[in-house]
Symmetry: C2
Subunit: 484 residues, 2 copies
């Protein structure tokens, strides 16, 4: 899109209308665009580069924990989807159906995968014979289709990209260990790479994955006070192994059903980065996943093409050689001020300005996107200083989000108080729950808030409080929130 | 799959039945398996690791030539597919149609993308305004569905994975340059990384991509004498920009339609690696794309777990630290001999054997998969020697394939001779062609051989010969072959 079309300055302030800000910044920063079909989006190069960085960092961790990648078919015959009763009930309302191939109608409808348990199951049944084949630790990067009624770029779209791990184990204990190992891996990944602090824990039965025995999840707080589920790890028990007849001969030569897990993270993480770190001026990408980590802007005055541009290009080369993702913005048709605003909007963590006097002094001005702090650095010190500042920006964005999260977890001792906090502050609210689905529903129907997670390690007594909804003794103290 | 199931030894020899050998080796080496739906396959971890290496090497080249990745929707509304007449005619017989979402029938059918020109077109029309937005150089890694009647793992499957580049340019000349630049990039990639020599050139109008102005392609020779198309690069001219109204304001403020290209390479490249380099003992992967470059087999005699295994593990660590993809096969349930055969079958370029006497002598035995040559190397010299041998194996596999290709390009001066060569030797046959589609059809109908490519730089006189089919003066001397 040409510069004149971009209208850098005209973004609705985040503080004024968060939802509009989100949709505008996604489009103006060219992260994504609306496809001509309802609910579908195009991930543009700048947004896709974020996803590629996410993939890079997450795939590395998935492999380091012993998993290997594979690829399973996009289509699932309807009869396969129906094998696990809860699974088909949960997913069939969201399935896109292929009913014809070429000129011919199909004998059996094919689901475009809404998740892959039901196509992976029959393959695992074929591949697994003995305990020696276990654990089977496979991951897949793929596109997924769910026919959603209400959609929002990155957060909920008819098609999205994800990774889905699907593992098989000898015992229930090993499956539970894997489920929690992946949850911990996800948490470390999100905190380290995306600079987003999260709450982790288990989901209620109402909120668990259709077909799972138990779902664990990570939840983050967006800067408008709503929660976003960042990733899930499911202990499938033997639900799918019984449905798809995935058996193995155990160490005592007895036939057993395998114990399974599945887990996933999606392109919605790009939306989380926008909503956690963005500000009125636009995006603020954590350096470790930023498509461009530092932009060099030559100050275009006088004979800048001969006096400034060579130094700017040399600085870019030096940064690139140091492994930094750098862009030298030498466009003639845009002023330096325009470029400053544009790269701020696009969330580039550091800006390096080089003008005629800087060239004479052998230095550049570095401006941080997060604090807007400026400093000077000699040309020869640039690569080391930029690398060090990128680390600082990464840490500071995390610290900022972490303070915000800490400040937005509140205790509610009564339903009255719960409602008040929701109206006034949003954020996560911790309160007593008796464990009944009915009470969960009561709270949800009255407030649109749901139980996001039940924490795994209660550092304080679990009981003692009262259920927010029914007033009986609480059996747990989950985190509630309104969520995307 | 447990060791006892693998039956390493029982593969139909390649020389006896090539087609059966191909299908058996794909399954037994666990590259892929048949999915329970007709024509669909599962890419297993060992096969997917090859694809990941291909992606790594190709993506690097795509980016180095200025392209960026993005992601467009899986579905294309039928009306979009119909906008370019030749395109819809070519692809609609192969389209899988989505007709329902959840419980509701769709108002308009959605094609599962058979290629993405028709969904990318409308987005480009929205994004491009001025010559400053050009060239637009976008690539996508995606899954593709074509409802094929006859399928074969990797070579032709209902769903496959690929990359598709889609670019827009200011002038016809620039689009043609891009088309040929990508063809050259593909060729260098295939020769360097896959160790496969290729013929390159343009396709006839009958064989070109539906909707393209001109298609260029790479063709390789499989070891059974049949050709395989390895990649294509299309000059789309203004066919799609006119159909989708993709216009820009040129440097003289005049509205023009953009000039486009598209180009792709697919998972069939994995099949090409199998068919070009494999032998009676199984696969032979070129080291640069081999999932495992060197396997270390500790010789399990006596107290090998204390006397041999530590040295084997240390050798593996040293190779890994040197950036070599290494596996230490310490399985207890398989004998060394079994492991040798299995890793040979799986095409691991180098085997490193370490026995008790080797440990005492401080050395290991290295065995090449390509020549089966053995040599000894001191432990401390292993990383350097293995790296150097991997380079040699890579070069030798290329040289072998190149000799085979050179020996299997034959001249035919008459249709009689053409038929004889096809019956006796197969391979590529070069001969005269008048340029008429009717003669192309005559030859195809009589022999199942098609024009694979018309070479771009004729080093010998173009005319002078006669058309194999009609006997009139030849206007070109293309390469013919039977092809997959």
């Amino acid at each position: 899109m040409s510069v004149n079309e971009r209208q850098v300055k005209h973004i609705t302030p985040k503080s004024e209308d968060f939802s509009r800000w989100y949709q505008e910044i996604i489009q103006k920063a060219e992260l994504a665009d609306y496809a001509p079909m309802k609910g579908m989006m195009v991930i543009r190069p700048y947004g896709f580069a974020v996803w590629e960085n996410i993939q890079h960092h997450l795939d590395r961790r998935i492999k380091a924990t012993g998993h290997v990648n594979a690829y399973f078919p996009l289509f699932i015959p309807e009869s396969f989807l129906q094998k696990e009763a809860e699974h088909v009930e949960g997913f069939s309302p969201e399935v896109a159906w292929v009913t014809a191939g070429g000129k011919e109608d199909l004998e059996e409808r094919l689901a475009v995968r809404p998740t892959s348990e039901a196509i992976i199951g029959p393959m695992y049944a074929k591949w697994i014979r003995s305990w020696r084949d276990l654990p089977l630790l496979i991951n897949q990067w793929a596109n997924i289709v769910r026919w959603e009624k209400v959609t929002r770029p990155f957060l909920r779209t008819t098609e999205f990209l994800w990774q889905e791990g699907h593992t098989c184990h000898e015992t229930a204990e090993e499956a539970e260990e894997e489920t929690l190992r992946v949850l911990a891996m996800y948490r470390e990944f999100v905190e380290t790479e995306l600079a987003i602090p999260v709450l982790s824990g288990r989901k209620t039965l109402r909120e668990k994955f259709a077909g799972a025995q138990m779902t664990y999840a990570l939840e983050a707080l967006m800067s408008d006070g709503k929660a976003l589920q960042m990733g899930t790890s499911h202990n499938l028990g033997q639900h799918f192994s019984k449905a798809f007849d995935i058996k193995f001969e155990d160490r005592r030569q007895k036939l057993q059903y395998v114990w399974q897990t599945s887990w996933g993270m999606t392109t919605r993480l790009v939306g989380a980065l926008v909503m956690v770190h963005g500000d009125d001026a636009g995006l603020r990408f954590p350096p470790r996943v930023a498509p461009v980590q530092a932009v060099i802007v030559p100050i275009s005055v006088g004979d800048w093409k001969t006096s400034v541009l060579p130094a700017a290009r040399a600085a870019a080369d030096a940064l690139r050689a140091a492994g930094i993702r750098v862009l030298c913005d030498a466009r003639e048709e845009a002023t330096p001020g325009w470029k400053f605003a544009e790269h701020e909007m696009r969330g580039v963590p550091l800006r390096v300005e080089i003008g005629p006097r800087d060239v004479q002094a052998g230095q550049a001005v570095i401006v941080r996107r997060d604090t807007r702090a400026k400093e000077k650095a000699a040309f020869e010190a640039l690569p080391v200083r930029v690398a060090s500042l990128l680390d600082e920006v990464q840490k500071r964005l995390y610290a900022e989000a972490d303070s915000f999260l800490a400040a937005n977890i509140r205790e509610a001792r009564s339903f009255e108080e719960f409602r008040e906090i929701l109206e006034k502050d949003r954020g996560f609210i911790r309160g007593g729950w008796c464990g009944e689905g009915a009470c969960e529903d009561t709270i949800k129907n009255a407030t649109m808030a749901t139980i996001r997670v039940i924490p795994l390690d209660e550092t304080e007594p679990v009981s003692g409080g009262l259920c927010l909804a029914c007033g009986r003794e609480a059996k747990g103290r989950p985190y509630f929130a309104r969520a995307y």
